[in-house]
């Protein structure tokens, strides 16, 4: 779980190899919004995992910050075709929140402050591939980018990395979220260009 030499990639890869099909690289960090930006003070923030049987585990901000922290350097890919290389995050691996949790559910709905939701397979949140991120590029995550904390699932299109995350609900079936139910792909793999439902 400990991350050594973050950002090391072995031999240099050309940037083109790191760009999924149909994407272009950007230096900026565009803000896309589907509603008013929630302003959630860290002391009012909490994060709850709810199993398919209705059992819950919750963490306050203080408790979350006391969990093992991880630094991650990763590329992110937005379905609106921008990709951003080597973004630096700090947060807690989802493996930590799910440690020892009994579940047979295959899917998760992420719930956010402000009402946003997104859905994805539970397996995509485990195995060191997803985080609750609270720090971006060395600074506390701003509300525009999902602060105080957002989901970070960089191997899927970035709408899956729900801003202002407040909880995860385990579900036996895929229960499409805000964009998944409005035309976007249920899974959203940038390398297979799964943008819209049917892609």
């Amino acid at each position: 779980m400990t991350s050594f030499s973050p950002g090391f990639r072995g031999r240099p890869h050309s940037l083109a190899q790191r760009l999924p099909p149909g994407q272009y690289p950007t230096e900026s960090f565009p803000v896309l919004s589907a509603g008013p930006t929630p302003r959630v003070p860290a002391e009012a923030w909490s994060f709850t995992v709810t199993t398919e049987r209705g059992e819950t585990r919750s963490w306050t901000w203080e408790q979350m910050m006391a969990l093992p922290q991880q630094d991650t350097v990763t590329d992110i890919h937005c379905v609106t075709r921008w990709s951003k290389f080597d973004t630096r995050w700090r947060g807690v691996s989802l493996d930590v929140f799910f440690d020892g949790l009994e579940t047979t559910a295959g899917y998760v709905v992420a719930d956010s402050y402000g009402g946003y939701t997104t859905s994805l397979p539970l397996a995509d949140l485990l195995g060191g591939r997803a985080w609750i991120a609270h720090t971006y590029d060395g600074y506390a995550l701003s509300p525009e980018h999902g602060g105080p904390a957002r989901l970070l699932v960089p191997h899927l299109y970035f709408w899956k990395s729900a801003k202002w995350v407040r909880g995860l609900r385990l579900t036996p079936e895929d229960d499409p979220g805000f964009w998944e139910s409005a035309g976007y792909h249920p899974y959203g793999d940038p390398w297979r260009e799964q943008r819209h439902r049917g892609d």
């Binding site: 565009p30 803000v31 919004s33 589907a34 008013p36 964009w179 139910s181 409005a182 035309g183 976007y184």
Partner: protein
């Protein structure tokens, strides 16, 4: 229009909706099922247009409609709980 976090209003839905509706939509009357506020489609608050347009009640931010476009289709979702209609546009 340059501030991506800011919203426009329902007047800007006239163009996108003209691709699937035959009647000019901005004068359409609508009542929010959540806060009961009534008004015209032009008064809705708009977010987007990427990755999709989200139109919300100006009073309580209830989601009135979502519109997602891909190359040959427009997806229209009315309200918060209904499924998306996929319209072929080309």
């Amino acid at each position: 229009m340059g501030d991506p976090g800011a919203f426009l209003d329902g007047n800007a839905l006239a163009g996108p909706l003209s691709e699937i509706l035959s009647v000019e939509p901005t004068t359409a009357w609508w009542r929010c099922p959540h806060c009961k506020r009534a008004g015209s489609l032009a008064q809705l608050h708009l977010y987007g247009p990427e990755p999709g347009i989200t139109a919300r009640c100006p009073g309580c931010a209830y989601v009135a409609l979502r519109l997602v476009r891909e190359e040959d289709h427009i997806w229209l979702t009315l309200g918060s709980e209904s499924g998306a209609f996929r319209f072929r546009t080309a």
